[in-house]
Amino acid sequence: MSSSHTSTISSVAAPSRRNTELAMLVFAVLIPVFAYINVGLAKEDTVPAGVFGYAAGLGCLAAVAHLVVRKFAPYSDPLLLPIATLLNGLGLVLIWRLDQEPSLTTPTLGGPMAPGQLMWSAVGVGLFVVVLLFLKDHRVLQRYTYISMAAALVLLIMPMVPGLGANVNGARIWIRIPGLGSLQPGEFAKIVIAVFFAGYLMVKRDALALASRRFMGLYLPRGRDLGPILVIWGLSLMILVFETDLGTSLLFFGLFVIMLYVATERTSWIVFGLLLSALGAVSVTSFNSHIGDRVDNWLNPLARSPVNDGVTETAQAMYSFGSGGLFGSGLGQGFSRLIGGIATKSDYILATVGEELGLTGLMAIVVLYGLLIERGMRTALAARDPFGKLLAVGLSGAFALQCFVVAGGVTALIPLTGMTMPFLAQGGSSVIANWALIAILLRISDTARRPAPAPAPSPDAEMTQVVRT
């Protein structure tokens, strides 16, 4: 492992890589623009009229983000922004492409979604800029450890509040804001709770790791050290179980275990976590019919629905993937609309990728997510302070789990849980929250790679020279 140079303070300025980022950003904008033209040609045989607006919109967002990074986080990781831009741009194209299907764009399903998504992307990039402008140093977030805890709880409880929460597709994870639309607070809670965990664990890591009793070969920490975090985690799980949002509970649980493991360096946490999650999964599956159905769908993805003998969404998604084959039908030429309903543009958007871009395209997208995640991990490795390390690993771990849970669910690798594919899927809260997440990661990597101020020249230097005669 030759990672030492990334974590060693050096007075020699590391290359900032901002020009690399710019070059890649150009591709990240051009590829979606060509994809957009491709859809237009496939659907209407003409270059779509909106292409200039779209290119300008995406280009502007990328340019603003890049300039802000260049000015305020010059040493940050050069890959994160282009990948996020590319995924966001492709997501916009895919949503616009699905908007072209009349059966998916009825007023009851909310009409065309792409303009809204572009607007939310702009808000997301706006938040990205705000984070980079005002968060000069990520360590500031440490101060808000307990405020974060409260905020996370509030965010998670909000959908349960009568009048505010809304039940969509069997999961109560939305809140309605009059005049603005609906919001998924869980997406933001993901970031806030990572801040809380990082702040708390940084302080308590030694106590958790060392002041523990050995029990059946496992090191168990003292209750007063683990107590608060266990309570918060338990509460969030309870809430999510009542909101029947298995995906997010899994994400929070995984986040908790990963951060605890990294902070304490004790493998026993992993064993502990796996046991608990197995227990939780079995009990939730057997008590909750909504989730039980999804497990059935996962075990027999092609079986017809027991309710109306219809083809299930899971089966439709599988047919989409199968029909896409190696190279796909080409953008705009697939039939992923057969999945139907609102989920086609959000949860199931990968099915459209699979069908229209084929195995090749889908693998490329998965690899992009993989790169993004590993750059986040690299940021954690490079970070010099434990808080930054924990926060970076928490954020990228949450991102990784979310990608895995969604993509695995849609491809029937694991039972489906309603979550959005970051950046790609339709959904305002998701896009905004993930842009904020990228901004925080960029800030941590900037701090990590920023050169230390040059040491003052020592007047004694001359004197200590070895004089040879």
């Binding site: 493991y261 083809v311 047919y319 199968g322 195995l359 889908l362 998965v366 990784a400």
Partner: protein
């Protein structure tokens, strides 16, 4: 903290790899299965995305395609004279799938067949829309019309074969249906489908190929062939049968429709007057094994008779002695499709050689190149040439001087056999009227073998007999086949 961090990074990498493996599994390994799964609507969408190739009779298409709107499917199948040709074409419906030639030659008709790969590639390069190939049938439009109109509104079926090649010239079933009526996927199409499906007259049943009937006295041709082939009997030698035959091991007796001609009759006379006593006795003498052997040579017991639409299996089962004697006159548990009985007549007409029946002459590519041409095939030789000649003389006697006189055609050689099959408990139901025959035109060398069955004819029970009801239909079909 770097050690656990690296492990977490590896773990996340494994998650990504798991996804990549899974995606490869469903999009590469399982792709074909998913792509062609029956629930995958893309299959149907693709099938109807282009005009379908046509099924052709003579040189005219009996099918077509029309553009539709308001659904996933761009083109809809249309049929010219749907009810007339339904037993040949089958149906291709956007909502209800396809059957018969439409289903069996789907690859050619949609243009997806591997043998059309070259055409498809050329079309793709030159930017032409995908086109399907055509299925050219062996049917004769005049024969088919004569058969269908002959049946009229009576339930029944007609099968006509060219004895020399086995080419199917006519395949009519009544009542019939119009496949156009449910080719789309609108509510009206569904309603029509449900109505046809529930109709107690079963209009969608292809009676000529897929329904088996007790063959009645037409089966005496098989029994006579078995007797001749056994070498113990000859056509003009007395058989020694009594006027009233007591079934072996039974107290039941069997009389004859025409009185005073059957006692000790020759094979020829017995066929001429359709003597039950003689043929029941012959069947008993030949034995169950011999009867099974002979009927199988004629095509009974063949569960995979593909024309290419598969015909139902005609059977002559193992039976005890009294039953076997009854089987010889077609009144036991032996059953035959109209096609099977036409095959019996055709084997006799073709000097003992039975040709495999087929109804697709060739498959042609959109550019009219032949892809596959069906070659006539011998199925078996149930009779020696000499015995076949004798059978011909016997069957011609039936038409010229016996029960089949209604099928006589001036200037042509016609051989036939009538049949009236009792059925129902205690034979209470109306009987089936049968007629099997062949005709040869000495001038044009044309030949045709025909089997006609009319179920539950609505006429007076006494009038229902193969000679009265079925023979006139056979006659008009044969005339059409000979070009008269």
């Amino acid at each position: 903290m770097n050690k656990p961090l690296r492990r977490v990074a590896v773990f996340c990498g494994l998650l990504v790899i798991a996804l990549l493996v899974r995606v490869n599994w469903i999009q590469f390994v399982e792709a074909d299965e998913l792509r062609n799964h029956e629930d995958n609507r893309r299959v149907a969408i693709e099938r109807y995305a282009h005009p379908r190739g046509n099924i052709i009779v003579g040189d005219k298409a009996i099918t077509g395609s029309t553009e539709t709107s308001g659904s996933d499917f761009k083109y809809k199948r249309t049929y010219k004279d749907g009810p007339l040709w339904a037993p040949v074409t089958g149906y291709a419906s956007q909502a209800f799938g396809a059957n018969q030639l439409e289903a069996l030659n789907d690859g050619i008709l949609t243009g997806n067949d591997d043998r059309l790969f070259f055409n498809r590639t050329i079309d793709m390069i030159t930017g032409k829309d995908k086109k399907g190939g055509n299925v050219v049938t062996t049917l004769d439009a005049n024969v088919q019309k004569a058969a269908f109109e002959g049946l009229g509104d009576r339930k029944g079926a007609v099968a006509a074969i060219d004895p020399e090649t086995g080419a199917i010239l006519g395949l009519a079933s009544s009542p019939s249906y119009d496949p156009s009526s449910f080719a789309g996927n609108s509510n009206k199409d569904s309603k029509n489908w449900v109505e046809l499906d529930k109709d107690k007259d079963k209009p969608m049943l292809n009676r000529a190929l897929r329904e088996t009937y007790p063959p009645g006295s037409t089966f005496k041709v098989v029994t006579a062939a078995a007797a001749l082939e056994s070498g113990k009997y000859d056509m003009d030698e007395p058989t020694g049968a009594p006027e009233t035959y007591k079934l072996p091991l039974s107290t039941n007796t069997l009389g004859n429709e025409v009185k005073g001609v059957c006692e000790d009759a020759t094979l020829r006379e017995a066929l001429q007057w359709s003597c039950n006593s003689v043929y029941a006795m012959l069947s008993d003498k030949v034995g169950n094994e011999g009867m099974i052997e002979m009927s199988e040579k004629f095509g009974f017991g063949n569960a995979e008779l593909d024309t290419p639409v598969r015909a139902a299996e005609s059977i002559y089962p193992e039976m005890d002695r009294p039953q076997n004697a009854m089987g010889g006159i077609g009144q036991a548990s032996n059953r035959a499709t109209p096609l099977q009985m036409a095959m019996v007549a055709s084997a006799v007409a073709n000097d003992g050689e039975l040709m495999k029946p087929y109804m697709v002459e060739k498959l042609v590519a959109p550019n009219l190149n032949d892809i596959e041409v069906t070659q006539p095939q011998t199925l078996s030789e149930p009779l020696s040439g000499e015995n076949a000649q004798k059978m011909q003389q016997m069957m011609e006697t039936v038409v010229n001087e016996g029960t089949g006189s209604n099928a006589k055609i001036d200037g042509a050689t016609v051989g036939g056999k009538t049949g009236t099959a009792q059925h129902g408990i205690d034979n209470r139901d109306l009987p089936y009227a049968w007629f099997i025959s062949y005709a040869k035109d000495p001038d044009s060398d044309k030949q045709i073998a025909v089997a006609v069955v009319v179920e539950d004819a609505s006429a007076n029970r006494d009038d229902i007999s193969g000679g009265g009801v079925a023979a006139p239909i056979a006659k008009s079909v044969m005339e059409a086949g000979l070009g008269r």
